[in-house]
């Protein structure tokens, strides 16, 4: 009798095999990515060099970190437009603290992190307590922050960050760039958080059905605010990395990144209505986009054409996604 029960539990707790079609859909981006890499490697001798491949990984890493932040906000069914300004804010204030004010680097890092976290809290509070649509709320904070850092810097870059800081953005550990290691570590941490902690599961619950989650005892307000804070803080880490590459604070760093971040999150299979998505999807999305960018650079296609191509990519993914949904 007992054996029977155990066996029945085994069958009912078995993950049922999904149809090949849905498997293909889930992993479409990964498959496309692999196909792309193979094609590019075969056709281009420059592309397949270790140096270039590591370069692609390095370039993908910081934008991937930022996209992982946006991932959380989209996962709970909201949108954070303010990250493009947070990048500029972090960059210019970090250089301001470290160069103009002469504070130690670690103090400057902590200060900009705190600033970003505060922006995240403000976004979250506006959405949760102010009941403002997140698109509008973050659009407003985006513009306010933009105003503030232009007032602070007058739009001029602040250069002169110490050489040692360059390691953060462009250093190598053996063959592997440091940013790639950072990205992998953050991704692993966030993966474990989303899949194997109750807090992580709460993001999915809130994104799937906010009211039901509230009635099931989840602190919905906390989860929403936390998502915005995570987004801002991860964006700050990414912004520091990008700043480290050029060793100067620059307000224009984030201007064209919002589009790429959105593309990556959507490429990674995150549902824009919330409740569905995976961290590794974001990483694959970032690599996918970077490989295409890299190939376009190698083929010396102009930046303007790159925008057109990226736009078409995002459009195709959204179109495919919208038209293959079963119900």
């Amino acid at each position: 009798m007992k054996m029977n029960l155990i066996n029945e539990f085994r069958t009912k707790s078995k993950r049922y095999s999904r149809s090949g079609e849905s498997f293909l859909k889930d992993w479409m981006i990964l498959i496309l990515f692999v196909v792309l890499v193979v094609i590019f490697s075969v056709t281009s001798s420059t592309f397949r060099t270790t140096r270039n491949l590591m370069n692609v990984l390095r370039q993908a890493s910081f934008i991937a970190i930022i996209a992982m932040g946006e991932f959380f906000v989209i996962l709970i069914g909201n949108m954070d437009m303010s990250l493009s300004s947070i990048i500029g804010m972090v960059s210019i204030f970090f250089a301001g603290f470290a160069v103009t004010m002469g504070l130690p680097l670690w103090v400057a890092v902590i200060l900009v992190m705190v600033m970003s976290a505060i922006v995240g809290v403000i976004n979250g509070v506006l959405v949760v307590y102010g009941k403002v649509n997140s698109f509008i709320a973050t659009l407003v904070t985006m513009n306010i922050i933009k105003g503030i850092y232009y007032i602070y810097s007058g739009g001029l870059p602040i250069s002169g960050l110490p050489e040692s800081f360059n390691f953060f953005g462009a250093g190598y550990v053996g063959l592997v760039p440091f940013p790639v290691i950072l990205m992998v570590v953050i991704a692993l941490l966030l993966y474990v958080m989303t899949q194997h902690t109750s807090l992580g599961r709460s993001f999915y619950a809130v994104g799937g059905n906010m009211e039901a989650s509230k009635l099931s005892g989840i602190n919905v307000k906390f989860v929403v605010i936390l998502a915005f804070v995570l987004c801002s803080v991860l964006t700050a880490i990414g912004a520091l990395g990008i700043t480290a590459k050029t060793l100067s604070g620059n307000v224009t760093l984030g201007e064209n990144l919002l589009f790429d971040v959105m593309t990556i999150v959507v490429l990674g299979g995150t549902s824009l209505t919330g409740g569905r998505g995976r961290i590794y999807g974001v990483i694959i999305g970032a690599l996918f986009l970077q490989v295409i960018s890299n190939m376009m650079v190698l083929m010396s296609i102009s930046t303007f054409w790159q925008w057109v191509v990226k736009g078409i990519i995002l459009l195709s993914v959204v179109l495919i996604d919208a038209n293959t949904k079963k119900d």
Binding site: S13, H196, S198
Partner: protein, 520 residues
């Protein structure tokens, strides 16, 4: 087939009906979805001027049958005659069925909630004067329609501001405007109160006089007896049809679920423990005022009231999900200030909400995740990580106790039947080890068989020493399950009935706000 012939003979006595010219005749319809035979050799006849109740459990094939008639589903085999003409099935479509005058009104409203009643009635059929909409003509036509169905609904405000019942009347007006010959009402009244249902049958009567045929699909057995004829389906098979006046409720139930139900309600538990929940003078503006109630371990208390009496708000207030301005709540004898559902759940309160799709379950989650959602913190490895295996085991254990029909814990809850979904919501709180179960219309929109299973579950809960607060629009349910019924009228407590006074008559009076002494 014999029964149908018998009906035809009987019908010749009636004036309006014309058995020689049925509006719809469906013969030997078979329809299969991958893996299941949704309809198996089903025949169905609808005569002009007839209201025909179509009954059966969820998944019995009622809606599938309706969709075969409207052309939304293509049947695998069978014959369909509309107005005596055979329809070519291979090219039959919704468009064609509409051209034949077949209209369907779904349970889910197909109205534009921001637009006014007038706009909703005429959308797609606007009369214009030059390039402009001729509002005057539309208003005149709308008034005629309303007069025809003898109803009075404000058509000049956005329909979202209207009561559910009034919105349904607009749907009727729309069907009449299109001069439909056949009107299919699919689970229309699942969300209506008694007197609105009466009103709907009054309008159905008017439409019948005009010679329209009505197909009435419903879970509520009482409503079937307001129809002329009935057809019962069970597991996609034709069971029986005949005159509604020739059968009684137990016979109908037997046909629907394929077995007899001797005991509808299990015996009410009389073995009480200590007082678990007490509410004193609880008041929330615009919802309810000065509510006093208490419930002991092993007890079920019922809350009765019409729509808008404040029942749902009351249970949400106890859970900390509705603002109260004054009053006290005691749990286990201690006064508590409940500010959020999170806190209430920690105190051992769990809510089974009225709208399980929107409030009860996360439709993107699987069975396991839905079951363990409030109890996640109990399954930890090294105090940080979720122990998915232990969660699955617990979810399995409780869902088995509920007799849930499923094949995998990782199955999405979206496609489960209403009854099965409700079982998961209850299992969720059993797993959380809640003591106080607030149940807001737990049997709404679920079929007869599953209803009785829920009744048994409620009874089992009381045997385990839990306390249940049951909100229900069905008086029979309250009388059959509760030790005590609190009756609310427009936000105030009108009466508390138990023992001998727990009868339909007494409760109805209080529901309507009639003081017993005055009426005597």
């Amino acid at each position: 087939m014999d029964t149908i012939n018998a009906i035809k003979k009987n019908i010749s006595q009636e004036q309006i009906r014309d058995e020689e010219h049925p509006l719809i005749e469906l013969k030997k319809c078979t329809m299969a979805f991958p893996g299941v035979k949704a309809l198996d050799d089903v025949s169905f006849t609808l005569l002009p001027g007839e209201s025909h109740g179509l009954v059966g459990e969820n998944g019995a094939g009622k809606s599938t049958l309706a969709k075969c008639i409207t052309g939304e589903n293509r049947m695998a085999s069978g014959e369909l005659y509309i107005d005596g003409k055979q329809i070519k099935l291979s090219s039959y479509s919704i468009r064609e069925s509409q051209a034949h005058g077949i209209a369907i009104v779904h349970q889910e409203f197909q109205l534009m909630s921001e637009m006014t009643g007038i706009e909703n009635i005429f959308v797609g059929h606007y009369k214009s004067k030059g390039p402009f909409i001729d509002w005057k003509a539309l208003h005149k036509r709308a008034a005629e329609l309303m007069e025809f169905i003898q109803s009075d609904v404000n058509l000049n405000i956005p329909v979202k501001l209207l009561r559910t019942a009034d919105r349904q009347i607009i749907q009727f007006a729309k069907a009449v405007l299109n001069e439909s010959k056949v009107l299919i009402l699919d689970e229309l009244t699942a969300v209506l109160q008694e007197k609105d249902i009466e009103n709907i049958f009054r309008i159905i009567g008017i439409l019948k006089e005009k010679g329209m045929g009505i197909i009435y699909i419903s879970h509520r057995l009482d409503e079937i007896f307001s129809c002329d004829t009935y057809t019962v389906l069970c597991d996609g098979k034709y069971i029986n049809s005949g005159y509604a006046k020739d059968i009684d409720k137990p016979q109908l139930i037997k046909m629907i679920i394929g077995r007899e139900l001797n005991q509808v309600y299990p015996p009410i538990n009389q073995n009480f423990g200590e007082k678990l929940l007490e509410v004193k003078g609880l008041t929330a503006p615009n919802a309810f005022r000065d509510i006093n109630l208490q419930v002991r371990r092993g007890e079920v208390i019922g809350i009765a009231g019409l729509l808008g009496a404040g029942k749902t708000e009351l249970v949400h207030a106890i859970l900390g999900n509705h603002k109260v301005t004054s009053g006290q709540i005691f749990v286990g004898g201690k006064e508590v200030k409940i500010k959020s559902p999170e806190q209430a759940i920690k105190l051992g309160i769990g809510l089974v909400p009225d709208d399980r799709r929107m409030l009860g379950l996360n439709m993107l989650f699987d069975i396991k995740d839905n079951t363990t959602l409030p109890s996640m913190s109990r399954f930890k490895k090294w105090k940080v990580f979720q122990d998915h295996k232990a969660e699955a085991k617990a979810a399995y254990e409780y869902n088995e106790r509920m007799d849930l029909a499923y094949y995998s814990l990782w199955q999405n809850v979206k496609k489960l039947s209403g009854g099965n979904q409700q079982k998961i919501v209850i299992a969720k709180w059993m797993l959380r080890n809640s003591d106080i179960f607030l149940m807001d219309e737990p049997t709404r929109g679920i079929d007869v068989g599953a209803k009785f299973e829920i009744y048994t579950l409620i009874n089992d809960l009381t045997k385990q020493g839990k306390a249940v607060v049951l909100v229900s629009p069905e008086l029979e349910e309250l009388i059959g399950l509760c030790n005590r019924v609190y009756i609310m009228f427009e936000g105030a407590l009108m009466d508390i009935v138990e023992g001998e006074r727990k009868t339909q008559g007494v409760i109805i009076n209080s529901l309507l706000g009639i003081n017993e002494d005055e009426s005597n």
